[in-house]
Symmetry: C2
Subunit: 208 residues, 2 copies
DNA sequence: ACCTGAACACCGTTCAAGT
DNA sequence: ACCTGAACACCGTTCAAGT
């Protein structure tokens, strides 16, 4: 066939198709993506740097709807909370993609922009330079940890014979469907409160 | 060859070999495990339920050194903190295994036991039944989120042109090698403080 | 520049056959 | 019960060949 007049493929289309597959089946395959797009497997490799490249496109698709603008409004702690929640929501919309995004480094410009703003926010709030990345990391871990939890199987702990772990089985039975949300709320609230305290005690130390 | 007098394979050996491979290369393959054990690929399938079964053996190896006994000593919050730290340390010893353990449910008896104790601890501390699993989940997310962070690439955010994200680049430069530990300490401290508050306010509500 | 067709080395898994 | 050898359908990736 050779080169067509109009390109059959582009990165956005590849990313969208891969995400569709992940949402539907929990995984994707380069040949599967090609099949859906009515194209040869090898063609995909002309637009993307291997399977890892497709994963990066997946990330771009997942965060496509995110608006970094929310980080510019209100006090730093409120801005961070709103941001963390929106980030978690974006991942929650594609739970089965999460695990694939966690082990490869972020190169997506759109995502870098978000973290740039978070870092600025913390600096302006008065946190010491050396404290900034630990806080960013903590927040990141909370969001991703929770997102991963939402993507996990219905019951993460399969109690074989109930007699082996009666209390765990009991606690599971007493648990509502909002377990994951409650856990996130709890963790985020504790984290932000702790950060506020850090800032306050640092302020007192500076005054002294 | 047929059946040998002494079995050539057992689950422990398979798990240990798979973990070696993951530690060294970041992944494992059933044929690779078989090769290391000087055995045919198909033989492995007589001892384990597919690749997923090997992953469960991986989990057992990772948590093999963990002692649930630490959960029985001291006040609930101290016990939980010690437990969370030891759990994180166990994962940290095998960072590249972490991602594989996060998406499959836990069946390993040894791990279930730990959670059984954590649940008991929280119940005895006075938390409401419906609050127990959210707290366990939160703690679990913090440990796993942090463990995953330790297993992530050196730099999680690759800033292309530094001019695109000057503050992020700057903050990264100001960051020490203990970034991951600091983030964990921060998050865990905040979480436990928040839980203590929950318990205290619940106590006050009960008194009223 | 972009797509095809064919190739390569490799996987996970199954199964009959042997002792 | 446990191991082998061979098979199956499938991957990720590369590359010469075409327009």
């Amino acid at each position: 066939m050779g080169r067509p007049k109009k390109a059959l493929l582009d990165r956005t289309r590849i990313g969208r198709t891969a995400l569709e597959l992940v949402d539907e089946t929990g995984d994707f395959t380069v040949p599967e993506v090609a099949r859906r797009l009515g194209v040869q497997t090898a063609s995909v490799y002309h637009h993307v740097e291997g399977r890892a490249g497709v994963i990066e496109l997946l990330r771009e698709q997942v965060v496509a709807g995110l608006d970094a603008g929310t980080l510019a409004t209100g006090p730093w702690d409120v801005a961070l909370e709103v941001w963390a929640r929106s980030y978690r929501a974006a991942f929650a919309a594609h739970p089965r993609a999460i695990a694939m995004l966690m082990t490869s480094p972020v190169r997506a410009v759109r995502v870098i922009e978000h973290y740039e703003r978070v870092v600025s926010l913390l600096g302006e709030a008065g946190f010491a330079p050396a404290a900034v990345m630990p806080i960013v990391t903590g927040l990141d871990n909370i969001v991703l940890g929770s997102a991963l939890d939402m993507s996990a199987p219905e019951v993460m702990w399969i109690v074989g014979e109930e007699s082996r772990a009666p209390r765990l089985a009991e606690a599971q039975a007493a648990t509502g469907p909002d377990r994951a949300d409650l856990a996130f709320d709890l963790t985020l609230a504790g984290f932000l409160a702790h950060c506020r305290e850090l800032l306050a005690s640092k302020g007192r130390a500076a005054e002294a």
